[in-house]
């Protein structure tokens, strides 16, 4: 089972690696670039944030709605400390220092969310993480001194990476893909370590795990820390992609969007996050042609609702069932 997942994941990664080249063969240059950066690249970046939610859901059994906010903490930390951002809040750091600091901040915020929510589960956790996320969102939106309020912080253009400009569509794409790949395989590795096994044990039966002598609370909080780290990586990339960050990036709409991506893809495996985010990005970009630009939310809402009603384990689950129906041997 595990080796097959790895095989498919490697195949998917290989496909994504050559996608920019394939697109160039099929489309005019500017459109190929658009697809590379603004559909695949953007999808992968939000897939990372969605994966932090999926990670908690798959292996911890929590649906946390705070993940977009946690990603935003990374984005804001970066924007506050990096040189060149407008307006200058603190400044003084290059990207080499500001990015690790941002990811650290998101990890800490993940731990804080975990500590606050540690005694709750299921829908309570959903409610509390949502309320927490909105509290932080409102704080950021109204704070001028540190977050520049409603307008946010702009002009976070990103570093030069080994002489390549981050703003180049292909540089951005491969950095996003590399980050996503590393995090994804990192998660697959992590869940097979003792920590990951205890975490899954807690998901299935917390009392038994506690009886075995493991501390349930700290493990849960640590899982939120890991998710915070993942979300932080996504938040940094999203902020550079958007050339800045404003409260809208972490508001109720953005929070729900990340949930939609995770659920559409499927909460049963981290890969679902990327499936969902790519589908979401595609709809988001082309709803004008598919249905009606102004009614994008209805379209995505219906897709979301249909998935929740018919296939609660998302497209992944639907795919697995389809294979089974078609007589595949290998239903998981």
């Amino acid at each position: 089972m595990h080796s097959r997942v790895l095989l498919w994941s490697a195949l998917g990664l290989a496909l994504l690696l050559v996608m920019p080249w394939l697109l160039l063969q099929a489309l005019p240059q500017n459109q190929a670039q658009f697809w590379t950066a603004n559909i695949l690249g953007r999808g992968i970046v939000f897939g990372i944030i969605a994966m932090s939610l999926t990670f908690l859901a798959t292996y911890g059994g929590f649906i946390s709605l705070a993940q977009m906010m946690v990603a935003g903490v990374a984005g804001y930390t970066l924007a506050i400390f990096v040189d060149g951002a407008v307006p200058r809040i603190a400044g003084g750091l290059g990207y080499g220092l500001a990015i690790p600091l941002a990811i650290l901040a998101a990890t800490v915020m993940g731990l804080i969310v975990g500590a606050i929510a540690v005694r709750t589960r299921d829908i309570y956790l959903l409610m509390i993480t949502l309320a927490l996320a909105m509290g932080i969102f409102r704080f950021i939106e109204t704070n001028i001194a540190w977050f520049n309020g409603y307008e946010g912080i702009r002009n976070v253009v990103g570093p030069d990476v080994f002489g390549f400009d981050f703003r180049n569509a292909y540089v951005f794409y491969y950095i996003a893909l590399g980050t996503a790949g590393a995090l994804y395989f990192g998660v697959l590795y992590l869940v097979r370590t003792p920590f990951g096994l205890v975490l899954q044990g807690i998901r299935d039966n917390p009392r038994r795990v506690a009886a075995l002598g493991y501390a349930v609370g700290p493990h849960r909080i640590a899982a939120f820390g890991v998710a915070g780290f993942i979300a932080g990586c996504g938040g940094v990339l999203a902020t550079i992609y958007n050339i800045g960050i404003s409260p809208g990036s972490i508001g109720l709409g953005a929070t729900v969007n990340v949930l939609i991506m995770s659920v559409i893809g499927g909460l049963g495996h981290p890969i679902g996050a990327f499936v969902g985010s790519l589908v979401f990005t595609f709809f988001d970009t082309f709803s004008a042609s598919i249905y009606d630009r102004e009614r994008f939310n209805t379209l995505i809402g219906v897709v979301f609702l249909v998935i929740v009603l018919l296939s609660p384990d998302g497209l992944l689950g639907a795919g697995a069932r389809l294979r089974k129906m078609l007589g595949g041997r290998d239903a998981p």
Binding site: I123, T298, G301, F304, V308
Partner: protein, 291 residues
């Protein structure tokens, strides 16, 4: 001094509105274990439909325009709530997370369709003359009458819910259902029907809140999210599923918002979330919630 009293009264009147809306959320959660993320949408639907009924009548200067809008809003919300439970949520009873996700889907679609249908213009009800304008209060001078009416309605809702839950057969079934659904079913009670009734009642309260709220504050897109969050915070603070807890939560949050606005306006919105985190840290089940 009279300023402090006015601010406290403002806090209480705001709390009254929050209580009306959040009590429906709390009720549905208490019995059905459903976190109805579409609660704000029910508020919005009731307010828009109520307004559509209200406006032509008001144009013809009919005294009952507002009352008709109120009734239409409540009925419409109740029916929507019942349909949601009957068609979407009832058959996945027990899958709490999935139900919450379904209501999120519903709220996305409803909000967008309301925008398509009614546009982005803000609207507001005129209260009837009898409860419009200002009332002279001893020591305070003129105070908006409608805000006082809000308190009256909230008290009526609170007392009504208490009587319903403690003095009627339906209430008995509801309370029994909270403790043990299966046993209730085994006693020959039509549990799904009770579920639909509870959902309709909770939605009707959202609808009542919608029309009252849209008379006190403008009605516009985005209000659904606001009142959903208010309901969440009030219920988390007060205690999940407890009506007295909802009242306590609403009073705390309402007062915090108004006092915060007077003393440190910029961060007043954050104060309610600080209260929430403080309560969670010390009493995760909420102030009056059962552990």
């Amino acid at each position: 001094m009279d300023l402090a009293a006015t601010i406290a009264l403002n806090g209480l009147t705001l709390a009254a509105l929050y209580f009306i809306v959040a009590s429906g959320f709390s009720l549905i959660f208490g019995l059905m274990r459903v976190v109805n993320m579409a609660h704000g949408s029910l508020y919005l639907v009731a307010a828009y439909v109520g307004y559509a009924v209200f406006e032509p009548l008001y144009d013809r200067d009919l005294w009952y325009a507002w009352y008709a809008g109120l009734a239409a809003g409540i009925v419409c919300a109740a029916i929507s709530g019942a349909l949601m439970q009957r068609l979407l949520l009832g058959w996945m009873q027990g899958q709490e997370l999935r139900q919450a996700l379904v209501t999120i889907g519903v709220s996305i679609i409803v909000a967008d369709q309301l925008l398509a249908f009614y546009g982005g213009n803000p609207r507001q009800f005129f209260a009837p003359d009898a409860i419009f304008g200002a009332t002279q209060l001893p020591g305070l001078g003129g105070y908006p009458t409608f805000r006082l009416v809000q308190i009256g309605i909230a008290v009526a809702v609170g007392v009504g819910l208490w009587l319903l839950l403690n003095r009627t057969r339906l209430g008995m079934m509801i309370r029994a259902g909270v403790d043990d659904r299966d046993m209730l079913g085994a006693c020959g009670v039509n549990v799904p029907l009770v579920g639909v009734a509870v959902f309709a009642l909770g939605a009707a309260l959202a609808g009542l809140g919608g029309v009252i709220g849209a008379t006190a504050q403008p009605l516009a897109q985005g209000v659904d999210g606001r009142f959903l969050l208010v309901s969440l915070v009030v219920v988390i603070v007060g205690g999940m599923g407890s009506v007295p807890g909802t009242a306590v939560g609403a009073i705390l949050i309402g007062l915090a918002e108004q006092i915060g606005q007077a003393i440190f306006p910029t961060y007043s919105v954050v104060l309610s979330f600080v209260i929430m985190v403080a309560v969670l840290a010390t009493r995760p089940q909420g102030i009056l919630g059962r552990a």
